[in-house]
Amino acid sequence: MAIHRIYAVLLRHFYDSFRTVDRLADIFYWPTIDLLLWGLTSLFIKSFAPELPQITLIIVSGIVFWLFVRRAQLDMSISLLGDLWDRNLINIFVSPLKFSEWIASFIILGFLKIILSFSFAAALAYILYEVNIFYFGFYLIPFALLLMMTGWWVGMFVNSLIMRYGTRIQNFAWSIVMVISPFSAIYYPLSILPDWMQKIAALVPTSYIFEGAREVISYGALDPRKLLYSFILNLIYISLGLIFLKKSFKKMLNRGLLSLY
């Protein structure tokens, strides 16, 4: 991999991100809205259910943790869509840029934006609700990494579909990740899900993380096997995502980069 080529793609999307209002909104606006809406809802629930003193921490940390999944996926997909909207993809791929460098640059870009979005949301959570996201201590690192891994493989599947079907399915970039959110048990325990949903949730890596986060809140520690299961599942899905992405890229080259818009 050549660093200068990865840097080139980062630079292209960095300029775009900070000049486009909707991309800035993705980083700051939606986390703010989510925190206000669900944070206030949690305060309301707490006011008539004092036996749930941790409800605000559970919901607010759920919102902040979900950012890792959403941003990692969205940045990967929006970067591809950006080049399609700008009819710039051919400029990128008639250069020596490798496919692996292209994907790596999306992951790095997503990571940088996540740090920004997470820092902002964490600060806002503390200011609004005195929820300290660093309450999770060391666990924050594996949580963040495993949640981002989920965002990456979802992003890979979405991008594979966009490469095959073009911008007419661009809405998937914003919607597909939401399909796994009910199975992730972000705000509620897995046990409240119906049996068939619990079976699916067992195959969703994020369910182990959100369940684990609630264990940390309740008992101060979690069963490390949860992290392991989440990691193994993520690894499997990332491998499948990469294979699908590579095949879709080949298919795209078979149709021609100019045909995709």
Binding site: L11, R12, N254
Partner: protein, 306 residues
Amino acid sequence: MPILQAKNLTKKFKSFTAVDDISFNLEEGEILGLLGPNGAGKTTTLQMLLGALTPTAGEVYYFNKLLSQDREEILEQVNFSSSYIELPARLKVKECLKFISFLYNISGRRQRVEKIVDIFKLGNLLNKEVHELSAGQKTKVNLAKSLINFPRVLLLDEPTASLDPEVADFIRSFLLEERKKFKISIIITSHNMAEVEELCDRVIFINQGRIIADDTPQSLARSMRISHVELKVSQGKEKLLNYVKNNRVAFKDNGLRVIIDLAEKDIPDFLKNVMRQGIVYEEISIAKPTLNDYFLFVADGQNSNL
């Protein structure tokens, strides 16, 4: 040794064959025109030469290396510009040139960008976002970006489309100069036949995905064997029109002037007959066939009569 070799390139889209078993070479320092009517297969061929489209069959070699195997090494030395491809709309021109320059392994990157800006007189556009540029300015920036990596091979898809004549002329002079100085090899597609005649050492005509001619622009024009005789008739215009109609000679009636297409050898007899019939003309001009005539001939689907 050719700098680029296209060997038996074929591209099929389901049952449609866009490019059908074409082979050609590009020599060092050569400017090759890739011509043909719309839908002939020019852009498909260019895309395959760039690795942006996988051929159904055949191979592309640059510098005696296979594009599909040594992609990165080859594309470091190749570049592309098209009037129909955009740069990111929200980026400033200087940002576009900067990020493109990082895609290539260029020594003295900043100086190269400055030089390109200077050559193409882009100084006043550097802080403009791409979407604010006119079509001509975009074409100019696109062309500038295609030279950023000192390419040994440059592929240009209608590089002067939408440029005003002065800038188009500058671009043509610049390309000829680059070729002279650096022996850069260029493949160019264009619908401006005068431009092709001025720039190209050789022309490949593609029609329905096949190469139907590979020659110099002058030879292709000569192959038409038809000259245009333009007469400004002062007396007997109706007689003249009847005469050409009766003799099934192609002509165009432009009001005061009549343009008649004739084989060079038939011109003296034609003029003699015109005089005999009492037709009087004040002015006469005889234009030799051009590449444009050849293009129109092919575009009309008459190539089978060649």
